[in-house]
């Protein structure tokens, strides 16, 4: 499996009134084509920052991000991103929210609509096209976020704590549906980087887990998850792995 994303010695420094603060220190990481990579770590350790650097939303202070072998400069439009806060525009309907990125790519109205409908359908949102975000429950909102990210048919899906703002039942439902979606061969995206602070979520979803430590943010360990799918959340192997990752964080 070749690496699709390579991070080489990534450092991020933010200026602060009381001096500079280093958020990420010398992070090197490869994301393999077709894998699900989970990034876990304590809150504030720089997980979101790392994800945004991968996407090119913010530049690293030092180091290089390579995508498919090429050094990247600016936003990488081969990535789609899902946000913890959903980040939907409240004045656009579900369909319009999903179409935003398609319009930006200059597709004509008919194609935009068709493509948006396809992904709205895939995430189970059909019937909600005309709804505004504020009419939807949290779970439905995040489905819109997911459909929007998928609609641009990215190579890599980046997810920043996508289920953290949801209640336990909703997040389980969405997680299962994400796994189903990922198993769908018709879906162009097969590489996922998911940031989470729930270890069980990481163990359930990921092929590999990267554990970050804080102050400054750095990689402590990278763990392969060899459990067979579908994964049994109640199995002893599952619990053992959860415990192991947990011990690395604290």
């Amino acid at each position: 499996m070749p690496a699709i994303i390579e991070l080489e010695h990534i450092t991020k420094i933010y200026p602060r009134p009381e001096g500079e603060s280093q958020i990420l220190a010398d992070v090197s990481l490869e994301v393999m084509d077709g894998e699900v990579l989970a990034v876990v770590g304590p809150s504030g350790c720089g997980k979101s920052t790392l994800l945004r650097i991968i996407h090119g939303l913010i530049p690293p202070s030092a180091g290089v991000v390579r995508f498919a072998g090429r050094a990247q400069d600016g936003i990488n439009l081969s990535c789609g991103m899902v946000f913890q806060s959903f980040a939907l525009l409240p004045w656009l309907t579900v369909e319009q929210n999903v179409m935003v990125g398609l319009e930006a790519r200059g597709l004509d109205d008919e194609t935009c609509r068709k493509r948006a409908m396809k992904y709205i359908d895939k995430v189970g949102l059909d019937g909600n096209e005309e709804a505004y975000p504020r009419e939807l429950s949290g779970g439905m909102k995040q489905r819109v976020g997911l459909a929007r990210a998928l609609a641009v048919e990215p190579k890599v899906l980046l997810m920043d704590e996508p289920f953290s703002a949801l209640d336990a039942l909703t997040s389980i439902n969405l997680r299962e549906e994400l796994i189903d979606l990922w198993g769908d061969p018709a879906l162009p995206v097969d590489t996922i980087v998911i940031v989470t602070h729930l270890i069980e979520e990481a163990v359930e979803l990921a092929d590999r887990i990267v554990v970050l430590a804080s102050n400054p943010g750095r990689i402590v360990e990278s763990i392969k998850v060899e459990l067979p799918r579908p994964r049994e959340r109640k199995s002893p192997e599952f619990s053992a792995l959860v415990d192991r990752v947990f011990s690395l964080i604290v």
Binding site: K118, G127, E130, A131, S137, T170, I172, K234
Partner: protein, 163 residues
């Protein structure tokens, strides 16, 4: 038979509940479930009530038990799952009532206010706004009816598209 009101809960939660029950071999004590999930007991009861009305869960003696229908929903694809839920919703009196109202309306749509008034008459003990929201959210999921805020119209969804 009196019309049963919809509990104010969402379909995602109902499906999540089925998923959890499946993890527990299809059966779990409701009180333990609330503790495990760190969920307010009252809220969990609403979810269970919703799941029960849709025939996905049964509640004999303080337990929540996954029904074969619930199990089937978990194993189906997205569109099959939606079809299953649609069938289940259409068995409910509230849905049948609103459906008939829409079918008889001109162009199969009515102002949202009409639905609100109808709900207030059908279920005088319930909060019509809240009921309206739940009905709409379920109905949208099952692609039974829709609502446009721009025109303030409630309408029947036409089962046109087959993916």
């Amino acid at each position: 038979m009196p019309i049963e009101p919809l509990p104010s809960t969402g379909i995602s939660k109902v499906l999540g509940l089925c998923e959890i029950l499946d993890d527990h071999q299809g059966k779990e004590d409701v009180y333990r479930l609330a503790q495990d999930l760190h969920m307010p007991f009252g809220e969990l009861l609403l979810v269970i009530k919703g799941a029960e009305m849709l025939g996905m869960v049964e509640t004999p003696g303080g337990d929540a038990v996954l029904t074969p229908l619930g199990k089937r929903a978990l194993e189906s694809s997205m569109n099959e799952k939606k079809a299953l839920l649609r069938q289940a919703m259409l068995k409910l009196k509230v849905f049948q009532h609103v459906l008939k109202l829409l079918e008889n309306a001109q162009e199969n749509e009515v102002p949202a206010e009409v639905i609100l008034e109808e709900l207030a008459v059908l279920l005088p003990q319930e909060q019509p706004r809240q009921l309206f929201t739940t009905l709409l959210n379920w109905g949208r999921y099952g692609e039974i009816f829709g609502y446009s805020r721009d025109t303030d119209q409630f309408y029947l969804q036409k089962p046109e598209k087959t993916p």
